[in-house]
């Protein structure tokens, strides 16, 4: 094989020079890490979750470290859609890297409205729809854990925008394939997963939750085996591209997701350990393709070689 392998991927209408993005909420809105790594090298930038109005988020402590991971309950603090566009979009347009805006709402209408307002903003390449948020009209049950609410919210966002939409599935469900299918049937361009796993850490001395919000979400290497399994199941259930994430720290761990069926991946928590992780993930994937004499990333997406009859009995 001569020359570099082709690692460009296309997610909906989004053309990425490589399959590696940064995960929402772990990379701010772009400027925060711009002094440390070259944003032009990223496959895409996914910004922190944006809602219709500015949102204050949770009291502190918002984060606690656990074995091979962290549990966070930031509470979706953000400057609202107008504040985000005014403050950050000019900066973000300065890079040759697609910008995906992660959005959320407390009602179906809020989701649709945020999607609509971002549709004409220059430089916004797509929307990642975080459906792991509580529906305040339905007693706070997370949209993404109820098939009907999932369908409603994705349908509404689909109607509100022509941008590439990527529902981000909730991992805390019995059958991820069912939710992946719903997303596909509602016209999504791709899906992403996993979001953090609902968790509780207790300060034993005080007999209180370690986080002000009681419940938080587990991320980091600890969740990778669970994430790879869910990505594999979701990718097996749908035809649209899957973006995999959860505990990626290296080219090797990103390749687990790709081989399981992800067309692209995102690096989250590992950026806190070392902001250049995302770059070494890109390099690692490229090196793997070269070593294995492969011409393009597409050749290994979903290439998992399964034994004849995998018993579900473990």
């Amino acid at each position: 094989m001569i020359g570099k392998p082709d690692i460009a991927v296309k997610i909906g209408a989004i053309e990425m020079k490589n399959p590696v993005m940064v995960a929402s909420g772990t990379f701010g809105y772009g400027p925060e890490y711009a002094g440390l790594i070259d944003l032009n090298r990223l496959g895409a930038i996914v910004v922190k979750g944006i809602s219709l109005e500015p949102h204050e988020g949770n009291p502190t402590p918002r984060i606690v470290e656990v074995a091979s991971g962290i549990v966070n309950a930031i509470g979706l603090q953000n400057p609202g859609v107008a504040g985000f566009v005014d403050t950050y979009m000019k900066f973000l347009r300065g890079f040759d890297t697609p910008v995906i805006v992660n959005i959320w709402g407390r009602t179906v209408e809020e989701y649709a409205e945020v999607a609509k307002r971002l549709s004409d903003v220059e430089g916004v390449a797509g929307l990642e729809v975080n459906i792991s948020c509580p529906n305040i009209k339905e007693g706070g049950i997370a949209f993404g854990t109820d098939p009907k609410m999932t369908e409603e919210v994705i349908t509404a966002v689909r109607k509100a925008t022509d941008l590439t939409i990527i529902p981000k599935l909730s991992a805390a469900v019995t059958d991820i394939g069912q939710f992946a299918k719903i997303a596909e049937n509602c016209g999504s361009d791709a899906i992403s997963l996993i979001n953090s796993l609902p968790s509780l850490v207790i300060d034993v001395g005080k007999r209180k939750p370690a986080l002000a919000n009681t419940i938080g979400g587990l991320t980091g290497p600890a969740i990778r085996p669970v994430a790879v399994k869910l990505v594999w199941q979701a990718a097996s259930a749908v035809e649209i591209p899957v973006i995999g994430m959860g505990g990626i720290t290296s080219g090797g761990s990103a390749l687990e997701f790709i081989i399981a069926g992800a067309s692209a991946v995102a690096v989250g928590t590992a950026t806190f350990t070392d902001p250049s992780t995302v770059l070494s993930v890109i390099d690692g994937i490229e090196a793997y393709l070269i070593e294995n004499g492969l011409g393009s990333i597409g050749e290994i997406v979903g290439s998992l070689d399964l034994p004849a009859a995998g018993t579900p009995n473990f």
Binding site: G25, G28, E32, R62, T273, D274, P275
Partner: protein, 259 residues
């Protein structure tokens, strides 16, 4: 702001369980100022995904130093760092203490590791002033020699009375006020436990003094990206969460909303 592979130059025990870690890390050492902090990756702490923030005690053109004490698994593992070991450093992070202006009297008030950024401040300050340290006991008083060498007025309070005045550091301040010797407006620069900072903010308000406080919050990214480390502050007529790692750690005491 950089990530630089540092090298441990010195690692020794100080008093009261504290340790001094001196690291060769030229680019960051050159750039860092008083009140700023570094985000350090504890070597051989493999299951840990977060760096640990430490205030800078001192810095020159090639190296910087921090002081720390074992409070959990990260600081425990950091005690294994030996001369020559590599150590990844991110910095300088956060905002500096504003420099003391001529005609003001810098009044530094520290507790615990809080003496570290104050020492760095004093060393770089064009104006000399007073340094007050509050501690539980004599054996926990750090940097006394250093402040005396800088020719600062160094005052101590201990809760058990084993050194300096018996009581809290705020008593020490009130005692000094009672002596009526201030010939310039004091401006407070403080770093220490949450309760101490809050007491100082109240005291400063009472006396109508300006006070700069360095806050401590659990951090993840250290660069403003994750919103883990927020502090509620007044901003004009709004109240909002701002990032201790980015807009802080140094805040004007009168902006802080104490929760």
């Amino acid at each position: 702001m950089k990530i630089e592979q540092g090298r441990v130059l010195r690692h020794e025990e100080l008093k009261g369980g504290y340790r001094l870690l001196s690291i060769e890390v030229p680019a960051i050492a050159k750039a860092v100022g008083p009140g700023q902090f570094i985000h350090l990756q504890v070597p051989k702490l493999a299951e840990s995904v977060l760096r640990r923030p430490f205030s800078v005690l001192d810095a020159d053109d090639t190296s910087l130093s921090v002081i720390f004490k074992i409070v959990g698994k990260g600081t425990a593992a950091l005690t294994y760092a030996e001369q020559g070991d590599e150590i990844s450093i991110m910095g300088p992070l956060g905002q500096r203490f504003p420099q003391a202006r001529e005609g003001t009297l810098p009044l530094l008030i520290g507790g615990g590791y809080g003496v570290a950024p104050l020492h760095f401040f004093a060393k770089r300050s064009p104006v000399k002033g007073i340094m007050m340290v509050g501690s539980s006991s004599k054996s926990h008083i750090l940097c006394a020699e250093e402040f005396r060498m800088l020719e600062w007025d160094f005052r101590i309070s201990t809760e058990d009375g084993s050194m300096g005045m018996k009581g809290r550091v705020t008593d020490l301040v009130e005692d000094w006020v009672g002596q009526g010797k201030a010939d310039a407006t004091p401006v407070i620069y403080s770093c220490g436990p949450h309760g101490m900072l809050k007491a100082i903010a109240e005291m400063a308000k009472k006396h109508g003094w300006k006070a700069w406080l360095s806050m401590d919050r659990n951090m993840a990214c250290g660069v403003g990206a994750c919103l883990a480390c927020v502090q509620k502050v007044k901003k004009g007529d709004k109240i909002e969460y701002v990032r201790v790692c980015k807009e802080g750690p140094v805040f004007d005491a009168s902006d802080i909303i104490w929760e």
